[in-house]
């Protein structure tokens, strides 16, 4: 064996029926609709793009200020500004379709009916690889968060969406719960094909001079390296109790960070806030994973998935 040239590792994964040529995705809301980063990242190289959350109708989003930086993280309360599903299909999707990469559409609504309508609309569309259902956005007061922190609402919502689409269905879960595995179980029982975790932690910052919250929305979602230990823990817990493929995310900046998630049990990973810090973060993560596998002579990602040892 020695002296033989090391093989190119196999990075492809199957994520609940979505075939990915590698496990590196972009986290919803942090990569726009791909176009914004196409100048820095060859989208053909990515496992897939999870686009910014899409609702039935266009939404203006929250008033500014919408973001605030925190230690190793940031708070955001964008309020899910988006052009609505029709504009997405007509003006954004065609661009993404020109690339050889999976397109996963993140959706949300203010009522189960809205979710269902968006999912129906996507089911017909060409070039959509899967749907990620955001039941966990902390910034939409009327809706999302309630679904994601209530088991019954989660089941009902995901069940309803399941009925109207044959596309692979991924539930994006909230970390702001006592036991995330129960939501994973509910998603599985509702017929989901995979799980995305974690969405942002609910946080707040205050300007002590003006005495105003830093965000117009008062609270917002905490993302970035600060939350990575919480995210790794939740992925690890989930992998041990629910047998669905997991897209792990939360604070991934480097390949090593991504490998933590994979060892904890993730099938794929999504790079989020790091895109803002370094527009080429996704590719650096991908190259780093490949280098690590080559270096350690690991032939396939399956040899890493969930392979953290118990102590």
């Amino acid at each position: 064996m020695t002296g033989e040239k090391k093989k190119q590792p196999d990075l492809s994964v199957d994520c609940g029926g979505i075939k990915l040529k590698n496990p590196v995705l972009t986290a919803s809301g942090t990569f726009g609709y791909g176009e914004e980063y196409a100048e820095f990242v060859d989208l053909n190289r990515l496992g897939g793009v999870i686009v910014k959350g899409i609702s039935l109708n266009p939404l203006p989003g929250n008033p500014p200020p919408r973001i605030w930086e925190t230690p190793s993280g940031m708070l955001n309360a964008i309020g899910l500004e988006n052009p609505g599903v029709e504009v997405f299909l007509k003006e954004r999707l065609p661009f993404l379709r020109t690339f050889d990469t999976a397109v996963i559409v993140n959706i949300f609504g203010y009522s189960p009916d809205e979710y269902v309508s968006v999912a129906e609309r996507l089911d017909d569309a060409e070039g959509v690889s899967g749907i990620e259902v955001n039941i966990s956005c902390p910034n939409v007061k009327a809706g999302g968060m309630v679904f994601g922190t209530d088991l019954q609402a989660t089941s009902d919502l995901l069940g309803a969406v399941r009925k109207v689409t044959r596309l692979p269905l991924i539930a994006k879960l909230s970390p702001n719960v006592t036991d995330i595995t129960r939501f994973g179980t509910a998603a599985r029982d509702a017929g989901c094909d995979g799980l995305s975790l974690i969405n942002t932690l609910l946080g707040m910052a205050i300007d002590v001079r003006t005495r105003k919250p830093r965000l117009a929305n008062s609270t917002g979602g905490l993302s970035g390296p600060a939350i990575r230990p919480v995210a790794v823990r939740m992925v690890w817990q989930m992998a041990q109790s629910v047998s669905l493929p997991i897209i792990g995310m939360g604070g991934i900046v480097t390949a090593e960070d991504a490998l933590e998630f994979i060892l904890a049990g993730a099938t794929a990973v999504a790079v989020g806030t790091a895109n803002f810090v370094n527009p080429r973060a996704t590719l650096e993560v991908l190259d780093g994973i490949e280098a690590f596998m080559t270096d350690q002579d690991i032939g396939s990602l399956r040899d890493l998935q969930g392979k953290v040892m118990s102590r």
Binding site: G29, T30, F31, G32, E36, Y37, E39, F40, K52, P60, G61, P63, P64, P65, R66, I67, W68, E69, P71, S72, G73, M74, N76, I78, E81, G224, P225, V253, T273, N275, F276, V277, N278, P279, R280
Partner: protein
């Protein structure tokens, strides 16, 4: 692969420029596009992840094909840490970003208005205008002497301008009063609405009153806005400002320069 908007910029010179400002000269690779007046760059101020996000800065001068000049004031942690970096260090730089000031049509009189630390993009604009033989009138306002642009920049403004008007609220330099005390009468002179265009950059309350004057006098007015940013690329939707017609505009993408009447002040 070299990107025209992403590079490691090397600090060529970094000095206290007087009046609370630092002057930072960066060497950028020849592959990087040069900024147009009003465009900005995002700089990471340390090589740690504290702070996590890059900070946006306007460009005050393009010194050579591969060097640009930035002026900034220390207002918080990011700029404080930036002020400690020394020549030779490299900083991650993204840019030039956003849409700058549209150049006026021939024969138009540019009116430049700036206050506080809003001068850098207008300085680059003033130089571009002078180069193309426009005769700019420049208004600079500040609370007091210490808030005015550094002396070197003031001198340069003078060179670029056909007339330079300075006001301070406490009278410690130039005329005592608000910038609009001089600027408003000037704008109400006859014919301004067809012959002039206003370019403004500074604190939001100043931009608001400049745009009110502009509207009253029906002079086209362009303002450069500031808002906190994460991506600088139009992806995060974090830097939005309210649009008069409803909804929001992204400072990093549709801006930072907007027509004043687009904004819901």
């Amino acid at each position: 692969m070299p990107s025209p908007r992403l590079c490691n910029a090397t600090i060529l010179s970094h000095t206290a420029a007087g009046r609370q400002y630092y002057r930072l000269v960066l060497k950028i690779p020849g592959t990087v596009s040069l900024p147009l007046p009003g465009q900005f760059v995002m700089l990471r101020v340390t090589d740690t992840i504290d702070p996590l996000l890059a900070r946006p800065f306007g460009i005050s001068s393009v010194l050579t094909r591969t060097s640009i000049e930035i002026f900034y004031r220390v207002v918080g942690r990011g700029t404080m840490l930036l002020s400690r970096t020394r020549p030779g260090r490299t900083l991650d730089m993204l840019g030039p970003l956003g849409r700058g000031f549209p150049m006026p049509e021939k024969g138009i009189q540019p009116i430049l208005v700036t206050g506080g630390s809003g001068f850098p993009p207008l300085h680059l604009l003033a130089k571009a205008l002078k180069k193309q033989k426009y005769r700019s009138v420049i208004f600079i306002g500040a609370r007091d002497r210490s808030e005015l642009p550094p002396a070197g920049i003031l001198r340069s403004f003078k060179e670029q301008a056909s007339a330079l008007h300075i006001t301070t609220e406490d009278g410690s330099a130039g005329k005592k009063g608000l910038i609009t005390d001089l600027f408003a009468p000037y704008c109400s002179l006859p014919d301004r609405s067809v012959k002039a265009k206003i370019y403004a950059c500074g604190p939001t309350p100043m931009l608001k009153s400049v745009s009110t004057v502009a509207a009253e006098c029906s002079i086209p007015c362009f303002v450069s806005m500031e808002e906190r940013m994460a991506c600088g690329l139009g992806a995060c939707m974090g830097c939005s400002v309210r649009r008069r017609a409803g909804g929001y505009l992204r400072v990093c993408k549709e801006g930072p320069v907007f027509e004043a009447e687009e904004i819901a002040w």
